[in-house]
């Protein structure tokens, strides 16, 4: 199969267009030739007819009445008209209605029986020579009889003329038409293929531009030639859009890898320096113990970071592919209560109170662990960034087809410049503070990915000095019966 398909030339729009142009041109040419020949033949034949009628009339002129007053006629062959074609003599035969057969041409083909029939025109061939014949009936004898009482006779004249010359003329015309047509066909084909090639040039330019796109330069410069073409515009537009999307996700991926590498390097650097400085000189067993203890702590932090990164990767994968897990319907309130319970000891140590306001069960299809992780993260942030002795309010409510969960703290707030970036991976507004709290800048990124994995959204509002409000909205399919409050 493969070897076969390799030998087949790839299909080409250019070749297809040229072939269809060539085909229609050929049909046109042949049609023109046929029509030309028919028209020429017909015109020549009718000219011949007219000439033959004239000749037949001049034959009729030669019929005279006899002087005996009997009313019979005779043929005076002293003034025979010339043949239409000097090379091929015409044939004729004349009858009179009363006298009967009068005369015929000298070399009337012997044995050619001619019965005057109903047809006016006919074609026949004699001794290899094609003839066209015409029969004229009721031709009056032009001569007047001496005896006025005699009833004038009428004549039937058969006149035939060879069509050799017509055939030659038709052949010559055919040759001329063919030559001209072929010439025109060649010219138009060349012109059409040139125009088609030129017409398809923007496609090639576009392809060349597209081949310049790489991970280093994502910009596709659609050539002006391609942009001006109606058929290519959707293509260039969708290509530009696709490249923009690709570039975005590529950059995001690269940024994540860069950030992850950076985040991993620091704990590794700490660990390495601790172990190296331990080995620089002999130490007391207390020093070794302290060093090992420190190394273990650093390793645990590294492990924690890896754990968070994996969680984020998993959440983002769900968000992209949609969750394909069997999920049970749970009450959002109970997951919030669970999260508040998890944060309680931290809140107590900071003397912060957490108020949870609920208004009847809000049912949602989810893995309770996921929701608890989201609430715990948001609560932990709220508690950590609140001054000691303040409070954090959590509210769960249904708003139409959405569940709305808000977290309000009364901390320092987030500066407007940081606010748009807090959901970015590894973003930390103030490093010194997050470092002290052991954060990696991944918590909110994971929260966002998880919320989006459930088709929801998260938004942050903050007033510096007054506090921050995080609002999570989760879509609840509109089955009113499920929320019997």
């Amino acid at each position: 199969m493969d070897s076969e398909s390799k030998n087949v030339q790839p299909d080409s729009i250019q070749r297809r267009l040229i072939a269809s142009v060539l085909l229609s041109q050929s049909i046109l040419t042949v049609g023109l030739m046929v029509i030309g020949v028919i028209v020429t033949y017909w015109r020549l034949l009718s000219t011949l007819d007219v000439a033959m009628q004239a000749h037949a009339t001049s034959v009729a002129v030669l019929v005279r009445y006899t002087d005996d007053g009997s009313g019979h006629v005779y043929f005076d062959n002293s003034l025979l008209p010339e043949s239409i074609d000097p090379n091929h003599p015409d044939q004729f035969m004349v009858w009179a209605d009363r006298t009967g057969y009068l005369t015929r041409s000298e070399d009337w083909p012997e044995g050619l029986q001619f019965q005057p029939g109903p047809s006016q025109h006919w074609n026949f061939s004699w001794a290899g020579v094609p003839y066209h014949g015409v029969r004229m009936s009721h031709v009056p004898v032009l001569d007047r009889p001496d005896n006025a009482s005699v009833k004038p006779q009428t004549l039937t004249i058969v006149y035939a003329s060879p069509t050799v010359r017509i055939r030659q003329q038709v052949k010559a015309a055919l040759a001329a038409i063919t030559a001209a047509s072929l010439l025109m066909l060649g010219a138009t084909t060349w012109l059409a293929s040139w125009k088609i090639r030129r017409g398809l040039l923007p496609l090639q330019i576009l392809a060349r531009q597209a081949s310049l796109v790489s991970t280093q330069s994502w910009k596709l410069q659609p050539p002006k030639e391609a942009e001006d073409i109606e058929e290519l515009r959707p293509l260039t537009e969708s290509m530009t859009q696709m490249l923009a999307r690709l570039e975005y996700s590529f950059k995001q991926q690269r940024e994540f890898v860069g950030n992850a590498a950076h985040e991993l390097k620091t704990p590794v650097a700490v660990l390495k320096s601790t172990l190296q400085s331990l080995l620089q000189r002999p130490r007391s067993s207390e020093e070794y113990r302290a060093g090992l203890q420190a190394s273990l702590e650093d390793l645990e932090r590294l492990e924690q970071l890896l754990e968070w990164m994996l969680r984020l990767a998993r959440a983002e994968q769900w968000a992209q592919n949609g969750q394909q897990r069997e999920l049970e319907i749970i009450d959002i309130n109970s997951t919030c209560e669970e999260a508040v319970g998890r944060i309680r000891s931290l809140a107590q140590s900071r003397n912060t109170s957490i108020h949870l306001a609920t208004n009847g069960p809000v049912l949602f299809r989810a893995d309770p662990e996921d929701l608890q992780l989201v609430w715990t993260n948001l609560l932990e942030n709220a508690v950590r960034y609140s001054p000691e002795g303040s409070s954090v309010e959590v509210a769960v409510a249904r708003a139409g087809e959405k569940a709305q969960i808000t977290f309000q703290d009364h901390g320092a707030g987030i500066s407007p410049s940081d606010l748009p970036r807090i959901f970015d991976r590894f973003y930390r507004g103030d490093r010194s503070r997050t470092r002290a709290t052991g954060g990696f800048g991944l918590g909110l990124a994971i929260v966002k990915a998880l919320v989006e994995a459930y088709g929801g959204s998260i938004a942050a509002e903050s007033t510096p000095g007054e506090g921050t409000r995080m609002t999570v909205e989760l879509p609840i399919p509109g089955r009113k019966s499920s929320a019997t409050g």
């Binding site: 700490v270 320096s273 400085s277």
Partner: protein, 223 residues
């Protein structure tokens, strides 16, 4: 020699400081954020600054810019997690003298620090000679006339500093500033004790005095 380490990862800073103290005998100050680093760099004279780039409060690049703007010629070794060309070029162009990417080797850090101090003092060779005195900064040994001289750690530090500023008058204050870190109480009479100890050990079997005392001004090392 006195070194400033600006690094917010406290454990890393401590390890680096310990290594510099133990293996090179340098006085080391540690700053854990950019503002503290800038304050220390402006209020003291260091022989080299080791600078992390991602710092709280004041970014490492900005700190570097401020140090260079104020006209300080102190060599700066940048510790960075990013080793892509763009950021390396950017930091060298901002006035850094060298860089090390994390995670780094403490031995390499030490060697680069020593090299930067050397260059900062106008020296090329790690073995400095003044007349018949020879001081090896790599394995911290001193010879005079081919004879090894054993010095205490503090005596070595005083001599190392003087050797790097040959034929220049070095005041007691300057010596104190470069031999002790921020947390030490500085007593100028301690310097006199070390100088006299040095003189005694260096002059064994030699009549020529290497360290001259200029009354009211300080000391001068000459051949």
């Amino acid at each position: 020699m006195r070194v400033l380490v600006v690094e917010d990862e406290i454990r890393l800073a401590e390890n680096v400081a310990r290594s510099l103290r133990e293996s090179a005998g340098y006085a080391v100050d540690v700053a854990s954020d950019g503002q503290e680093g800038l304050f220390l760099a402006e209020s003291n004279t260091y022989d080299v600054v080791l600078l992390d780039l991602m710092l709280p409060k004041l970014d490492g690049m900005e700190l570097l810019g401020r140090i260079r703007q104020s006209g300080q010629r102190t060599p700066v070794l940048v510790l960075t997690a990013r080793d892509d060309k763009e950021s390396v070029i950017a930091l060298l162009n901002a006035g850094a003298d060298d860089y090390l990417t994390k995670p780094f080797d403490l031995g390499e850090l030490l060697a680069r620090t020593k090299a930067l101090i050397r260059r900062g003092k106008g020296q090329a060779s790690p073995v400095v000679t003044i007349g018949d005195l020879e001081l090896n900064t790599v394995n911290r040994t001193v010879q005079r006339g081919g004879k090894a001289i054993t010095l205490t750690a503090m005596e070595y530090r005083v001599l190392e500093y003087l050797v790097h500023r040959p034929r220049a008058v070095v005041s007691k204050t300057e010596l104190l500033e470069h031999l002790y870190d921020y947390n030490w109480e500085k007593f100028s009479n301690v310097i006199e004790v070390y100088i006299s100890g040095l003189r005694r050990k260096l002059n064994e079997g030699s009549s020529r005095q290497l360290i001259r005392t200029l009354r009211g001004q300080g000391y001068m090392l000459q051949d």
